[in-house]
């Protein structure tokens, strides 16, 4: 476990680069992490997914899997891979200040 300063804020982060305290997250952090993940311009669709993941994690206590995201938001798998290429669920969890999604589906 270590700390990192992102967008002017010091946050707790694990070895895999996932924030461990979701309450330390800010939208500025999201934008900064997204840039590092190869997404320099977050649009409204990205934010819709990020906000869903944040609220879903608040109620369930864990990051949603990709299937959970597509089922709940109505976005297709294709759209999710287009929005967050190469591992959508992991990428959006990182950007949203949440832990790594668990589960095989």
């Amino acid at each position: 476990m270590s700390t990192r300063t992102i967008a002017g804020k010091t946050v707790q982060m694990n070895d895999e680069g996932f924030m461990t305290n979701p309450s330390e997250w800010t939208r500025e952090i999201a934008a900064e992490v997204a840039k590092e993940e190869g997404l320099p311009d977050l649009n409204t669709s990205h934010w819709k997914v990020i906000e869903f993941c944040r609220s879903d994690a608040t109620s369930s206590g864990k990051s949603p899997t990709l299937r959970r995201i597509t089922t709940a938001t109505g976005l297709s798998t294709k759209e999710m891979f287009a929005l967050f290429p190469k591992g959508p669920a992991k990428k959006v969890a990182k950007i949203s200040g949440l832990g790594k999604p668990e589960g095989c589906v």
């Binding site: 299937r67 798998t77 294709k78 891979f81 190469k86 591992g87 669920a89 992991k90 589906v105």
Partner: protein, 168 residues
Amino acid sequence: MAEETRKVAFICSKGDLDMAYPALVMGWAALGNGIDVTIFFTFWGMDMIRKTRQDHLQIAPVGNTAMKLSMMGVKGMDNAGIPNLLGALPGMTAFATKLMKDKMHALGVPPVGEYLQMMVDGGAQLYACKLSVDMMGLKKEDFVDGVIDIVTASDFMDMTEGAQIIFI
């Protein structure tokens, strides 16, 4: 310079319901980790991509020494099997299949067809084996839309250069 993307390729050779899932689960996990996925369907594995077959795969209790009564909900029967003679009774394969499908459904695991479509949407590339296709007298139209082409074993070797290959 961007690092090279990891690649994994599955060869699916079985048409049993339980043997369909390893490639689906691992392939989906691979896509979720940003890994390129190619799947080559050969022999009975082609049932996973045949329009008329993919959602009718079954699991048979006959000759399956690992399938125990405890899986059928009988408590404390971890080592009591289903006698082959019983497994051979009409309806037993359908029963075992329904049981497995129900358990998968309860865990939120999609059926084979839907799962494969998710993978295609996530970028997985599906191919059918030419020799098996010729042997079984099939055509490209017999396969679901996600199947890109019918290719030879040699083509498969070419397209999976540098990939980790998993045979199922």
